[in-house]
């Protein structure tokens, strides 16, 4: 069984490759390359897989999941400029892919418990762009 909890954070970022010039960055990233940055209302949906505990009837206590999301994602990322304030985005471009992968890394071990494990992180950067990270072969 899968259970999903949603959280939101608003943050600014810029997508630029430092060793490329403005024109080349614009070609690759479009307006997201604006050096001064821009922002999104990110939505993260975290899905945990497991069997409901026979006594509590829960796969995982959603209060715990809410707390973990708060500590690992919302508190460090909400109302921040990702490139300047949230490692590793001082050296990794905070594309939706890289932010989703970082959220997966932060949550994976914290969510894991007997009978439940992280199954999917879906990160919406906008209503029209989202990234899924799931367990499976291949690196993130």
């Amino acid at each position: 069984m899968f259970i999903t909890r949603k959280a939101e954070f608003s943050a600014s970022h810029v997508c630029r490759i430092p060793f490329l010039d403005d024109a080349e960055n614009w070609r690759l990233f479009g307006p997201a390359a604006n050096p001064n940055g821009h922002g999104h209302n990110y939505i993260v949906e975290v899905t945990v897989e497991g069997d409901p505990d026979p006594r509590t009837g829960m796969v995982m206590d959603l209060k715990d999941l809410k707390q973990i999301l708060e500590e690992e994602v919302v508190t460090p990322m909400d109302h921040r400029f990702l490139n300047y304030e949230v490692p590793p985005f001082d050296r990794v471009i905070p594309t939706a892919e890289n932010v989703a992968a970082e959220i997966w890394r932060r949550l994976d071990s914290r969510v894991e418990r007997p009978g439940a494990k992280l199954a999917k992180v879906r990160l919406f950067e906008t209503a029209d762009l989202y990234v899924d990270v799931t367990r499976g072969s291949g690196s993130l």
Partner: protein, 159 residues
Amino acid sequence: MMSVTRRYRFSASHRLHLRDLSEAENEQLYGKCNNPFGHGHDYVLDVTAQGTADPVTGQIAMRHELDRLVREQILHAFEHRNINLDVKQFENSVPTTENIVLVIADLLKEHWSAYISGPARLSRIHIQETDRNGFEVLIPSAQEEMEQKKDPELAEVHG
């Protein structure tokens, strides 16, 4: 495993009708969707690319490449069209959203490598016809296809 999904929208009209059935049979089969004048939807199209984030660009597939592929090969054909009359793939087939998803999947597969520069592959197409009706096809990877061939029962279930 990672994927990136880009969402697009197009508005189009269609009519569900089979020429070899009578008016009454069509009416019974398709109901309101058989209205002779057609009707329209605001379709929402999700195109998913699977792969790994490129170490330099941080992206599985470049947005501008995906956007140009979908704009030129899909939206140009479907946006503000009458699908029965304006889209050649539906000259002889009925534009249910099932069939629209399959036509779009074929077009994206055909043109993918001409537009998408990296190793990402097309893995999923989802169309929301209305808020209440969703349609999805998954495109198996080469490895998944091989596994299905080895296990025909699995192919039957997931095929």
